[in-house]
Symmetry: C2
Subunit: 894 residues, 2 copies
């Protein structure tokens, strides 16, 4: 017969059955405990019951295979041998901890049970052995409570319920007239144990198990049981963790940091997690257990001088130099071994150091960059590894001002973190007022129910934007990100009263002129002026970017509508403009008047007249952008939004417009009414405008080509790519292309200049992706407009989805907000289809993406995978995109 399957992996002494690579079988914690043991680091002996056992347990309908019992007994034997003591022994009892440990860290799983093995007999042995009766009984009463809570399920499920053990604790403290747990005497602790056991009997109908083996099996069962607990299941559904991964159980000999002043416990990082500085960094407590560090009742002390902030503090190095020295040797060994910064936990029992945990340490963006660069210099890792170590989205922290983490904050609401950054300013409620106040040198936050293109001036003038409605890709959010300006959108907490010029949030009223602060990275809205700090870009940032560029194959462009934005993006390494929206230009200064004149015109002649006024202005815009982007391609999208966005909807503004244009208010109202649409997103916009009003396409093409010709004469290298928006059928594209090419050839003839230009289209309507082969017969390039493509493919209006989309993410229908991370399962199919079909009829078709997803790391990896030529994102996300693109290239080669 075959040897029975191994379900229990021991570790201790200097050797372990497992190792770091066995994370899938042993869980993260178990694998690292084994690994530490193997490399000679002192770890309390123990064993890990495998994740496989968990799966078998459920397959056998919550039963264990026969062989497990023996393997566990062997595991305990092995601990006894290494650590001394005997499980259940009256004199020298071995006590263990039991912890769950899955492949990935997972909330909703069983908490730790400490001191397992104690009972009315062994407690005496522990007292004798430790020479401290109170310590022994304190451990015992803690164990009974933990066991009752965690294993027997007495822990309250809702926050309003009371833990029966806490209740008893309060009773006894009251009876004894003491305030703190530590003031309870040994006798009191004994009384507690008694009452705890009584409540268990009363509530669960069973006696507290005195038999340590029963205790152990109970705890193991509780760990496996918690794997299928409601919270754990839900967590896995949301995070797409397969149910059959299972959890491991770690059983480990107890060590005590609370055995007197020669004992202690602590946590440390092998490098500074905030700055990345190569200095050992950590805190400890003397005579304490791990729980005490977490509970925050006592203030931990620095382990060494580089951690120390006040002179008076006593470091571990000073207090227990020998243990510290050992710790120092260990952390160095660990870092070298794992080749990454580690987050470690240790306990010192009567002067002897034990390691309880090591794992990769979390760090700030700045620290991540520094550590990655340093480790390459230290030859610990190679450049590829360095690149893979940094989460691209983390870089965002570095590119925007941030609130001083030490500042006090009064949070009065929370919305969507729509555009990162930190901003403080005086609240104003109208865009024009924002502009006026800003002119007076004031810092303002523009607070609106929602924003519209008319508000752009005010948004630009403001430090930040706060809206009550709209999602991550609402107008406010998109424009703010384009501007690199902080924005909190869709903050349902706030109720805005435009008339009274104030808003209320959670009972706090903020009037016009009062200071508020916005955190665009967390979505927090704070009262008052929270101080900010302006992180500087370190040399490490540049180094990492340079390395990233050497790996990536995807080009990175930017979405920019102004020379200023273009300049910023170029500074961040943009290799061209992937989306220049011409409509924003229509709002500046007096232009809006000409635009409105065009809209109001009754005939072609009237429209042409108004367009003639716009021509030189648009030309000027393009000249500015082309100059900045000298030598780099610039994709210009023709007019896209429905015309109603350009007309005023409020009576007063309509009146003003009427006076301005010398027509009746009725005429304005009539026109505005006639432009009303039920679903403007699917309405008369994009190339549908240029098809019904070819003169608009004509004017824009002329402005682009004249700008290009004039600059080329001056020696600027201009590479315009004219993009027709919202094409659903090749016929639409050809119609617009014909106008563009005609105007281009006329203009080039006029100037006697040849310009290297391209005509292409946005793929943003599902039908465009479905018929991409036909469209590519005419179009020279594609740019996926994944914002609209997502809206149409998923049937989601990004401005309205706030009512259900958060619930959809919570319920796990979508892993992430599909407007932030491309929905690869659905929308991704169309992107892939579009690329394949497009290239089937035009081999060298240039394909990019210019939706918001162009700046999202996971989406960038997808774009690389499906063979896009470039991604385009807002200027401030260019570095993120460069890094993500490098990671995509590295992943692909592995």
């Amino acid at each position: 017969m075959a040897k029975s399957k191994k379900y229990v992996y021991s570790f201790g002494g200097k050797k372990a059955d497992g190792k770091a690579e066995m994370k899938n079988l042993l869980g993260g914690k178990g694998a690292n405990l084994a690994e530490m043991t193997n490399i000679g680091i002192p770890v309390p002996a123990g064993f890990t019951i495998t994740t496989e056992m968990c799966t078998v347990y459920y397959k056998l309908n919550r039963k264990y295979p026969k062989e497990l019992d023996k393997q566990i007994r062997n595991g305990i034997n092995s601990i006894e041998k290494i650590m001394g003591g005997k499980f259940g022994d009256a004199k020298n009892p071995l006590l263990v901890s039991v912890r769950s440990g899955a492949r990935v860290s997972m909330p909703g799983m069983m908490d730790t049970v400490l001191n397992l093995g104690l009972n009315d007999i062994t407690v005496k042995g522990l007292a004798e052995q430790s020479g401290n009766e109170r310590f022994a009984w304190d451990a015992y009463r803690r164990f009974v409570q933990m066991y009752g809570d965690v294993v027997l399920g007495l822990k309250p499920q809702s926050k309003t319920d009371i833990d029966p053990f806490e209740e008893i604790m309060d009773e006894v403290k009251k009876e004894k007239g003491v305030k703190l747990d530590v003031d309870l005497k040994t006798a009191d602790l004994k009384e507690l144990v008694k009452r705890f056991k009584t409540v268990i009997k009363k509530r669960k109908g069973i006696d507290f198990p005195e038999d340590p083996w029963k205790q152990l099996w109970g705890a193991v069962e509780a760990v496996f049981g918690s794997w299928m607990g409601d919270r754990a299941i839900k967590y896995r559904q949301i995070n797409k963790v397969p149910h059959d991964w299972g959890t491991a159980v770690n059983v480990q000999a107890m060590v005590y940091g609370n055995m007197g002043d020669d004992s202690g416990t602590g946590v440390a990082f092998t490098r500074n997690p905030a700055t990345g500085e190569r200095k050992f960094y950590g805190e400890y407590l003397i005579n304490a257990q791990g729980e005490d560090v977490v509970a925050g009742i006592r203030t931990p002390q620095p382990i060494n001088t580089s951690t120390k902030s006040e002179k008076s503090q006593k470091t571990l190095e000073e207090v227990m130099p020998a243990a510290y020295k050992t710790l120092e040797a260990i952390y160095k060994k660990l870092e070298k071994h794992y080749t990454d910064m580690q987050d470690i936990e240790f306990t010192i029992q009567k002067g002897r150091l034990w390691m309880l945990q090591t794992r990769t340490g979390k760090r700030t963006a700045a620290a991540a960059l520094k550590i990655a660069c340093d480790m390459v210099n230290e030859k610990l890792i190679d450049k590829k590894t360095a690149i893979m170590r940094i989460a691209p989205s983390q870089l965002d922290q570095l590119l925007h001002p941030m609130f001083d983490p030490k500042a006090k904050k009064e949070v009065i609401g929370k919305g969507l973190p729509a555009s990162p950054g930190a901003a403080s300013g005086q609240a104003v409620f109208h865009a024009d007022e924002a502009e006026e106040w800003a002119k007076d040198g004031k810092k303002v936050i523009l607070v609106r129910i929602e924003t519209s293109p008319e508000d752009i001036g005010g948004m630009n003038a403001a430090q930040g934007i706060l809206t009550a409605r709209g999602g991550m890709t609402s107008h406010a959010a998109v424009v703010a990100r384009g501007m690199g300006k902080c924005c909190v959108a869709g903050c349902g907490d706030i109720l805005i009263d435009y008339k009274a010029k104030q808003f209320e949030s959670k009972g706090v009223v903020i009037k016009e002129g009062e200071w508020i602060s916005l955190d665009g990275s967390t979505g927090q809205v704070m009262k008052g002026q929270v101080p900010t700090i302006n992180p500087e870009l370190s040399g490490n940032f540049g180094t990492i970017m340079q390395w990233a560029d050497s790996f990536r194959t995807l080009n990175i462009r930017t979405n920019a509508d102004t020379p200023k934005d273009s300049q910023v993006a170029k500074g961040f390494g943009a290799e061209g403009i992937g989306l220049c929206r011409t409509e924003h230009m229509f709002f500046e200064g007096d232009r809006i008047k000409a635009v409105r004149e065009m809209i109001l015109a009754d005939d072609l002649e009237g429209r042409r007249k108004a367009l003639l006024k716009l021509l030189p202005m648009q030309k000027g815009d393009f000249i500015g952008i082309f100059e900045v982007m000298n030598g780099l391609p610039v994709t210009i999208r023709l007019l896209d939004p429905p015309l109603h966005e350009f007309v005023p909807h409020e009576e007063a503004s309509q009146k003003e417009m009427a006076d301005d244009m010398g027509v009746s208010v009725e005429k304005i109202k009539q026109k505005v009414d006639s432009l009303h649409e039920f679903n403007p997103m699917l309405g008369h916009r994009g190339c549908r405008l240029g098809i019904i009003y070819p003169e608009i396409t004509e004017m824009q093409s002329r402005a682009i080509m004249e700008a290009a010709c004039e600059l080329k004469k001056k020696g600027v290298k201009v590479l315009p790519e004219i993009m027709v928006p919202l094409v659903g059928d090749v016929g639409e594209f050809k119609h617009q292309e014909e106008i563009i090419r005609r105007v281009a050839s006329e203009t080039q003839k006029k100037y006697g200049i040849k310009v290297d230009y391209k005509v292409g289209t946005m793929i943003e309507i599902p039908r465009a992706a479905l018929t991409a082969d036909k469209i590519a017969e005419a179009a020279e390039f594609f740019s996926f407009g994944t914002n609209d493509l997502t809206q149409m493919t998923m049937g989601l209006s990004r401005d309205d989805a706030g009512k259900f989309l958060p619930a959809y993410v919570d319920l796990g229908f979508y892993k992430e907000d599909p407007f932030q991370a491309l929905d690869q399962i659905g929308v991704g199919q169309l992107v892939e289809m579009g690329v394949k079909k497009g290239r089937s009829t035009r081999k060298n078709l240039k394909v990019g993406i210019c939706g918001e997803h162009g700046g999202d790391p996971s989406s960038i990896v997808f774009c690389h995978k499906v063979g896009l030529n470039y991604v385009s994102c807002s200027p401030y996300r260019v570095p993120i995109a460069r890094l993500a693109a490098a990671q995509a290239a590295i992943i692909e080669k592995h």
Copy 2:
């Protein structure tokens, strides 16, 4: 060397080179002329230059291959031999006509040139030969004019220009003091010829070609040239006719119906095209040419007594009995030969009958049914052929009242023919007024800028609905079709003034209470009360439907929301309900109050309370429908529209609602505001409602299941199919399915009854089609909601597309309005993908379609092809769908 290619096909005498099957090569006209010749029918001899020649002509850059000249000469020789006379001969000249003739009849192509071969010499020969100098010169002046107009291009291109020949004609008539052409003397005609030639010289710089061969080549060139004329190209683009089909040229010996009282010309149908009666039916003119019949200057006479309407009329049978007898023999022969009703043209020259054309005759729906049935009885055709002969869309005529074709009409506007039928009534401008007036026994037409679900009562009470905005699938259109009620939608001509209660259209003002008439089949809006006739369904209708059912494999269901609609549809042969919309039920009577109470509720408890009021009402609805559909499946869609459709948007109604509910108007306004969406089509609707408010799904499921249980107890066979709308991810479906199945099992337990029910979903979001494999793992059936699927796939809001969609059809981007005929190229891909993917994970997945396309013949053929199980359409389209489905099945087997 290979024999040179044959480009010229002769016909005449009793034999022809071509035949009917050679339509692609010879064009429709040429093929039928050859066919008639072959079966021994007297056709003036001639020849056809093939369509292939046209293609070669363009390939050779508007040149001919060498061999053509000889072939044409042979063709002319052959005519000379058969007809006598010689081309260009001074004594006995042969004259010919030249006509274009493509595979399909096509406007924009060259008109006919008659009398070709005449010149200053041959005219004399014609005069002598005919013994009628005036006749000869009249033919000559007609020829010069036609040649100048058509071949030399003097025909004015715009309507405002004047034909130079007409101008001369007017001059000469004025000079001669005569009014009619026929009053011109021979000398006058000679003068005309002279002046005509002068104007040609003056305008074109060339002499009129006297050489008949030159004339002939010129005419051939003109026919081929017209194939690439702007109008012809545009027509082909729109109708997707390939440019390389080419046109044929028909050259045929002239025969004359204007050679005296023993001559004549006429057109006839082999059966009555209006009624289908098996009686020869036609008109003729004595001493006239074909043109004269068309010109309408003289009133044609009936050919026989069955055509005669007045006693005084002289029939051809009486006037020329011999010729008539020949004609009678010929029409019988033709009909037997072609096995279909023919539309023929004939000319009698000096007592001798010549056939000039035969083609399949157009007919009314009633005639089509009768002819098809009769011909099967006559054993002329089989049932399959009979089925294929009837255009399904034609049946519409039979199912709705229609205007008396003889009535006088004052058309004051034209909109979209949104729902067929004819309706007259007094104009009213508000839905509630429509209801009130109707209660008083008045017939009303509801005139609205657009309609909303609140207007349903008024729409139901009205005879017809007229809207200024909205497309073929706007609310008004969809609801009207569902009701089988006449509707003209999106009539941009009318300007409605709600305050003044009137509308203006093309200068005509219609006030409230004035009579107007709507033609829902043409989109015409007429002033006054146009009398209607109510066509009766003949036995032929039933016969054809019965035959259709024997061929079709596709099931036909109906979209019906009421027992009444269900009854109508069942009468028309519906085999189940494919879409029962529950939201319409929410508007009836007091229900809307409960619905609003639910919407206004602040918490779950409040919503449950309101829903409890709705439960018995919904249950009642379902009982009514289930009873009617006893034994047939009923697909019920859970609540779909966004909640804002249920709340009032006008101040007065809001006030009323506030009073009703005992809350402040502000609260109502606030709620209404909070429900506002930018793009409601993509907003919080469909299953998104049921997910955020599961209690709604619960109530609806309970109503369905309780209704089913109660009826089943009474012996009614109930087959509910519960449909979850707007699913985009399988997660959403499962969420709703779980609620439905839970409620179903509770209800069945409660009643102790087992109901055979299914849970499925609508596929109407592109992502649903893209992930159909996953969805089908859970869903038992799919129903394609192609209205919304079209909107999202094409990025078109059906309510807003009116501004550009008509232009898109005109420009040929889309062949048809995609809301009427399924866009097979784009949306069709998703339907096909959805079916394939769905069945890949659930083999027996039941798939149907419930969008408007379910009633469109071409879409039904597509649905059959991609393997759908059923189509569902509005009750009045059920017969159309049955026929189209039969045709699809027949096509597939061929």
